[in-house]
Point group: C2
Chain length 363, copies 2
């Protein structure tokens, strides 16, 4: 019990210790850090030396109480679903945390299963001065969270654009259209002409954005689109069955472009089951550059989001907002990069346009 009361090494060092050591007042010690120009050179030097030798670190909590600002940023963590490929969250959190640390912020996690409970969590954290700002992910049309945070004057930035044309929102997003267009460019270069699109249902704005990339590329290169687009929720099994539908068409595609790695991996499963070898008989591509895409066989061609950049811009936004001089431009659309792997390795001979032949189905 007794040792439970022991204080952490330098935990007890406060400004008043520094003040005594440097023979100045507490306020002067404080000024040495916060307004050094107010001190006479000699005093400053003496005080800083005391701070240094005592290992003084300002108490975050006291500072937070006094300044009404905790330098903590709330981020939501979602339950990872095992039927989805993309825990970008991992990398994203690391990047965010790292950028935050650079400007003296820390991340505090909050956990919620829907928009409403997410707001309740923010409410609690904000109301109790526990956090200064919020980072939102996966914004959607008519997102109640945005309105809610706005209303309360909370500093926040979103990973995901404003789908309601809110020009003043601080957002960072990935240009999904451009990402898919680069995938399409790569496939066309490999000689593909019938390129299918396996995407999310039309109620997803992110999904539509990516689909625009497919449509635009098809238009530009004069490729067919009819009967080549299918929809599926972002789920491995749904992706698999949607891909089976595509592959059983009269004139099946030679490549399938997918809105996510999850769907692409489902499509690869469908191909295997149809006796087709992904990357040889049919090309497949995903989106997100999840670990699964790199480690599956054949490796999945996909699109990598520049998460470090996203994180850094988000932190810049909230930091600027909190210090009172918001950044312009309010948003940036970052271009993801194509990652080519074996799933699109095979070059299609120019004279070949007929559908791939079905091979023996194993098992």
């Amino acid at each position: 019990m007794a040792d439970r009361r022991i204080r952490y090494a330098d935990r007890g060092v406060t400004l008043s210790h520094v003040a005594v050591a440097a023979n100045v007042s507490v306020q002067t010690a404080s000024n040495a850090l916060n307004a050094p120009d107010r001190l006479a050179p000699g005093t400053l030097k003496r005080t800083l030396a005391a701070i240094e030798s005592l290992g003084y670190k300002p108490n975050r909590v006291a500072r937070a109480l006094r300044n009404q600002s905790s330098r903590l940023i709330a981020v939501k963590v979602e339950a990872a679903r095992s039927d989805r490929a993309a825990p970008l969250l991992d990398q994203f959190l690391h990047a965010l945390s790292s950028c935050a640390a650079d400007v003296g912020f820390h991340l505090i996690l909050c956990q919620a299963d829907d928009d409403r409970s997410e707001l309740a969590a923010y409410q609690e954290l904000l109301q109790t001065t526990a956090v200064d700002a919020v980072i939102l992910s996966s914004t959607h049309r008519g997102d109640p969270r945005i309105a809610w945070l706005r209303e309360r004057g909370v500093a926040f930035a979103t990973f995901g654009r404003s789908w309601d044309g809110d020009e003043d929102l601080a957002w960072v997003d990935i240009d999904g259209k451009a990402g898919i267009e680069s995938v399409m460019g790569h496939l066309v270069e490999q000689g593909h002409r019938r390129i299918a699109f396996l995407g999310w249902p039309n109620d997803s704005d992110v999904g539509l954005d990516r689909k625009q990339g497919w449509l635009a590329a098809c238009r530009r290169h004069g490729l067919p689109t009819q009967h080549l687009a299918v929809e599926s929720a972002d789920d491995f099994d749904y992706g698999r069955s949607a891909a089976l539908r595509l592959l059983s068409r009269q004139s099946p595609p030679s490549a399938v472009v997918c809105t996510s790695d999850t769907l692409a991996l489902g499509a690869m499963r469908a191909m295997s089951e149809s006796g087709l070898i992904p990357g040889v008989d049919v090309a497949v591509t995903g989106f997100d550059a999840s670990p699964a895409a790199a480690l599956t066989t054949p490796g999945l061609t996909t699109v990598r989001q520049p998460l470090d950049e996203v994180a850094s811009e988000l932190i810049n936004h909230v930091e600027a907002e909190l210090s009172g001089n918001p950044i312009s431009p309010r948003h940036s659309l970052l271009t993801p990069t194509l990652v080519t792997r074996e799933s699109t390795a095979r070059q299609i001979p120019v004279h070949l346009t007929d559908p791939p032949h079905h091979r023996r189905s194993h098992r």
Copy 2:
């Protein structure tokens, strides 16, 4: 600028507002929440009603300053490596965060690339009362972090056992040996006799623990082990080449048990390249139940760690420690569960013991 000064809805509600509303002193209002038995029934009711109607929430920061306890727990996030399959972190963080919330704690992330900078980060957070406790992951032999936290009397618990026989450490870990043994049981049932082990180098205690499972099962079932164990760092490409070595042996194994999903996925790649179909010609298993294992084709048989349980026990430990009555037993070894998928689907006919034949190598 002006609207930047607006306060969040109920942010301004403090105990003194409650006190005025209920016509009691501030301290009585505080007691209504912290020591309700001290109030006369009427006063209590009146005060609670005021708290309710004003939407008062105690200010975490003020409370932290007064109580010298922030109810924040530090957790480290590592940079996710794209050549590794297992960002369990994602699920783990969610589980932790959720359990923490149940007892009024929140998680604060800190980010560090080695043990030393990790300690520096804790140092800073502890010293400034920013956190009350720490959750450590991936402990290793002679872990400096454990000694460091001990020394300072910090409350902490570890995901990963005490490898130095420290009986008093509060840890939760996964029984890797048992996990691999259940994999082995499954493979033996399928008729496998020559089962190889693709594991981490011997300097990893976690790796050795899992390897023990293989050795024990081989002994129990009278299976050969000679020339059947190879080592590789936890990396897809290393796993791939180690598996190639195994497969090119004179009498190759009919199954490859791996220490991680990453290695198993590397092994699957190696099999494909050798013209072997995983799950048909050679069985493969992994460990961790990462998303990639579920989504690759064929699906990878693996071992799932009960992360929810791990999280809950860890939080219980630190919570108990902070409130002064540490939990006994100090540690628990949780048994992971086998997840069978197509990579071990094929039953080996009893009379067959000869090595799998090499099929045509595609591409």
